[in-house]
Structure formats: structure tokens, C-alpha cells
Amino acid sequence: MTAPEAPETGAPAAPPPDTVTLTIDGASVTVAKGTNVLEAARTLGIDISAFCYHPGLSIAACCRQCLVSIEKNPKLQPSCQQAAADGMVVRTTDPQSTLARKQMLEFTLVNHPIDCPICDKAGECTLQKLYFDHDNADSRVDVPKVRKPKVVDLGPHIVLDAERCILCTRCIRVCDEVAGQHQLEMKHRGDHEELTTAPGQRLDNPYSLNTVDVCPVGALTSKDFRFTMRAWELEATPSVCPGCATGCNVEIHHKQGRAWRLVPRHNPDVNGHWMCDEGRFTYHELREGRLAAPVLDGLPASWDRALATAAAQLEAARAGGGLAVVLSAQATNEDNFALARLAAAWKAKVFSTARPARPERADDRLRDADVNPNTRGVATLLASLPPAGGAAGDAAAFEAALAAGAVKAVVLLGADLPLSDGALRHLRELPVVALASHERGPVKHAAVALPIAAWAETAGSFTNRDGALQRTHAAFAPPGHAVPGWEAVVRLAQATGVKLAWAHGRDVWKDMTAAVAPWKGAAWGREVRPIQLRFANSRG
């Protein structure tokens, strides 16, 4: 878990040399040298309005929405660009700067179409929020608005409405600085200025949807999310992207048991403000091919019958020492730990599998070649808990064991088993008990398939490539009769006469952090309930 940022303290007696102390609206604040006035004000809880400023991007100071008065300075200054200096006296509520910001907002609204009813950003729009905060007056414009192109197809994921654009250039900077590809530009001047793609380019990069997040209005909309939900209908639950080993922090935006989009959650140690497009679409899998009830020989069955059958099928292999347990780098630490504990009680051989790496997607930004969220977690677990029934190994070792005939029955976590066709055919002849969230691959041919919750439906943790232990929270209930993975393990243990007593993911976590040395002392933290975005602030 990453520690929350330390709160800024008030002016200490002797400030360190790399800080400056300034006064904003009568309150004194000490910030690091180089901090801009806007950020310094935010540490005091003073939210200066802004469109073009984004803490994760370079400063453009082109929207002029953050103008403030600074003593001994004859002109108003954009607070995002103005570095804080020792002894600076800033006023944000004086009539001059208040009027300037109000007039800037009116200026921004001159050509804005105000089509909030059909705009996807409505409800989380910075322009809407600032209008209600600052202006809240009728339009004084009685000349025709400047018409610009609507529904412009910018790239595979994004649609542009140029009329709504307020020309803040955040999206241009996201492409330049986050994706490192110059694909967007402004053309023309004045009120005919317009966002467009760079010559010969489309908005097509692995981080393109971050432009939709940072857009303060609804100019850029995601084709994936467009016209599906209004922002205020959604609820947000913090989680971790399961797309790759980076483990970008995300918010699941969901409604009534269904996820509608993933958006990045700020974590300076992992992903900053961003995430990749591929990661955003990982939520689609939550609805596809789910296993909602225990399956016995291809037919749905009750948990009791499925567990009794599973126990009977595993009995012989347990006695003969031919039982293999396969952990998964796709599953949470808790699920893997629970199954590893059960494997130890069974004295079974333990293997682990993962989805095969995709080196072509790796870059030096966020995307990793390893497309499993928990490779490091499974490795740490296996290193700390030496399996009682044999050496741990990866999918290749499992294939070798299968070929050698050492495996008589398999308990499989997850549906990802990259084996050769021959090994898979061999696997079909063995009794396989699969604990899986999806019905695909080897799960289809398993003797018993037990339904477990997917990553968005259970409270658990993933360990990312840097070893950061990151919590996920349950956004909604798993489908049908599925239960969290560790709970399915507990049920399977009871059916086979092994006593495992966990009643909550927190209990598994407690045992796990006690048993695994690198995670000793890690805190489970509080349970986070979904927050209704109706009561949230603007995003972007």
C-alpha cells in the first residue's frame, strides 16, 4: 500500500532552505521552492478556478481562468504559471481578480454550445461547475455563435466536438508528454481556433483516452463510454487495473452491478494521473463468458453437489501424491494464498500459471510486457511458503509434470493455462477442479468448475511489478452463485476435510501478511464503499 501524501504543515519556526513562505488571502503557507501559486493555494483549501492547468502536465497558462492579484504587481497574474516566492502576498478574493475570472468565464462561454443535455461530460464538467460557482448569469451574447465541426472521428477511441472545446490544450499536452506522440494541434486563430489532428496523424496512441479524462468539457468523448451513462448515475469504487503488472490505480465507475468505465486514480508512485487505453477496456471481460454457478460435467449444479464431487475426484490423487495445485498470476494474493495453504494441507505439488507475456506492448511509460496483475505476488507467496508437496514451478514445469505422468488430478485457479495442445488434451483426461471466474479454456473441460468473483467483485490485493501491495475493493456483487476465490477455497477445504477458517478477506490478509515476510505489517485499511458520483466534484 502506498502511504498517503504527508499533509502540508503550517509555517514552521525555521523553514528549510528549499521552501518559500507566502501569504494567500491572509493565510500563511510554506511550500517547496518552485511550487506555483495555484498549488500553494490548494494546500490551504483555496480552489482557484482553472481550465488549462493540470498537475500532471506542463504549464500553458492559456485559459487565464486562474488570475489572481499579487501585491506590488500591477497586473493580475495567472496563478498556475506564477512560482511562489518568499514574502509574496496573494489575494484571490479581491474585487479585481474575482471580476477578471468571472469575465474570463463569460468569455469562454461565448461560443460554447451549452448542449449539456446531450453532452457526456455534463455532471462532471469543469465548465458547468465553474459557471455555477462564479457566474450563474444569463448569456449576454445576442450574435450567432461560431459554428465548428461536430462528431469528428479523431481516432479509434475518441470523438471530437469542436464547438464544445474551450481551447485549453490539455489534450495536446497529454499526447506530447504522456504518450510522447504529437498527434493533436490547434489550427486557425481567435474564435475560429479549433482542435485538430496533426498533419497526417490520427489520435491513435496507447494513452489516447487520457485526453478524455483531462478534457475539462465534453469536447473529447470516449467512443466506448459515449452515450451509455450519465456521469451522475454512476458510482465509483477505487481499485487496481488488472491489465498488466504495472497495477495502475483506477476507479471503477459502475451502476447496478455493471462496470461502465475505468478511469485512472492518482498515485504518484505507480501511475501518476494516467493509465493506458488497453487497461481501460479490461472491464469488458467482467461481462463476458462468466461462470455464474458451479458446473458439473457441463451442467449447472448446486455448490453442495459440486463440492462433494470435487472431494471424491481428488481423493485418490491426494492419497497417491499425484495432486497438483495451479496458482494464477491473474488472481489476487488472497485467493492464491488461500489455495497455497490448502495445497500445503493436501501435500500437493504447487505450480503457477500466467497469461503469456506480450513484449510488443511494453514501453518505458506504464505498459508492461507482463499482462498479469499479480506475477510478483504469486512469486513472493511461493518464495515465502515452500510447498509441502513438491517444488513450485511455472506453466512449463506443469507441462513437464503432466508429460511425466506425475499429475493424477489438478486443482486450477483461474482460466488461463498456456499449455501446448498435447498437454491440454492430456489435461482433459484428468479430474480437474477449476476455481474460475470465466468459463473458457481448460475450465470448459473441467470435471468440476466452481464460480469465483472477478477482480472488481472482491476485496483483495495485487502486487505490482515494483512489489507494491495494492488493495482492490468490491464494486458490486459477483454474478449468480459465485463467491470470492478464497471463500471457494474454504468450501473446497471443508469438503475435503481440511479446516480453514476464514470468514472475510481481511482474515486471509491477516494470515497472509503474518506468513509472508515481505508483506509483514501491511495494513488492510478500511473498506471503501462506492461513492455516488452525483455528489462528487468535476473530473478533468
Binding site: 451549452i114 449539456c116 443535455p117 446531450i118 455563435k145 461536430k150 462528431v151 452515450f227 448515475e233
Partner: protein, 228 residues
Amino acid sequence: MGASHGHDAADDETPGPRVLVVSAVSPRVRTIAVERPGPSDVTYLEAARKGLGVTLRHFVKNVLGKRRPAAALARGEEVAKQGLVPWNEIETIQYPEEKTHYPERFRGLHRLMQRDDGAVRCVACMLCPTVCPAHCITIVPAEADDQGVEKKPAVFEIDELRCVVCGLCVEACPCDAIRMDSGVHAKPVEHRGDAIMTREKLLDLSKQVGKDPASTATQGGEGPDWRE
């Protein structure tokens, strides 16, 4: 309460039971006179006689009296008494031969307005399902073919069994797409599903009631067209 308890015992104007003795230890502790009903009251004969008299008076009036005209009755009008025969007080309307009078502010079922080209005016902004206290409106948005409109409802359904006829959907609508002025009473249904009004039914109702199905309002407020 505290004030009434704090009254001085000597205060004769205090309402309530007659005080006989006030305790020397605490003025709050008093002995009061309890007045019980007399022998004529506990038999209830007098009360029964009075009550039966009222019943008899109504009976005679309603059996021998003349019925008021239904229309006047519905409007709640007083009709001048004619001759010696009084009007009776039975407020029965001979439905269905006679129709009851609806209040002026009766709204009836929703209807959906249409554009000049016959398409539904709704742009699926989801404000009505958001504001609806009964959660009776279901809208599934979709991309419209017309780029000037952009958004349309692929599904627009109102569950009239859930609707509480509050009219907030009409207030919320930015496009004058939904109105609640058809004056059509909700129909009795055999199955719950039949009470769900689909987009087509709501548009049809608009044409049936004889009111203008196309809205004269323009998007965005006054003026011929807000965009031109």
C-alpha cells in the same frame, strides 16, 4: 410541561382538576378531586337517543328526498331547494352512464412530442429518469442518425403502474419532449407489462388525444431556432 408543574398551589386560575390538598413537603404533590360521570351518563341512553335521531333524520331525507343532478353534484354546487322536498345527500354517480368530473388540474397519461419530421423530440439526456421519484422511466440512449441531434432514445418506457403523476419529468425536460396533458386516464390492465408505455405508444397517444403532437417550442428557449 415544566411550567405547568411549577404553578403555585394557591393559583386558583390554574386550569385542570380541582385541587383539594397541597402537600406541605412539596407543592407539586397535590390531592385532586376526581369527577366521575353521573348515573344518567354511564347508561349512555341519552347519547344513544341523540345518535339514532341523527340517523333517522338522514334516512328520511335520503329515502324521500330528491337526487341532485350529477353534474352539479360533481362540481360541488349548491342547488336551491325546490318546494318542500329537500335534496338528498347521496353522492352516487351512475357510472358509466354518468361521468365523474375531473379537477381542472388533472393531467392524465404522459405523451411524447415529436419533431416536424415525426421523430421523437427526446434526446435521451436522462434528466427525467434522474428526477423521477418513482423510478418509472427507462431510457436507453443511442447515437442519432441526425448529427444535429446526436442522441436519441433507443428505448423509452414509462411504467404507468409506478408513476405517481407528479409531473417532475415534464419540468425537467429541456426539449419539451414529454408532456403530461393527455387527460387520458390510465387503463386497467390484465398484466403488469401492459401498463408499460413504450415510445411508440406514447407517441401514438400524442396523436390520439387531438392535441398538437409536434411541439412548437424550440430547443434552447425562445426564438425561432437557437442555433441560427
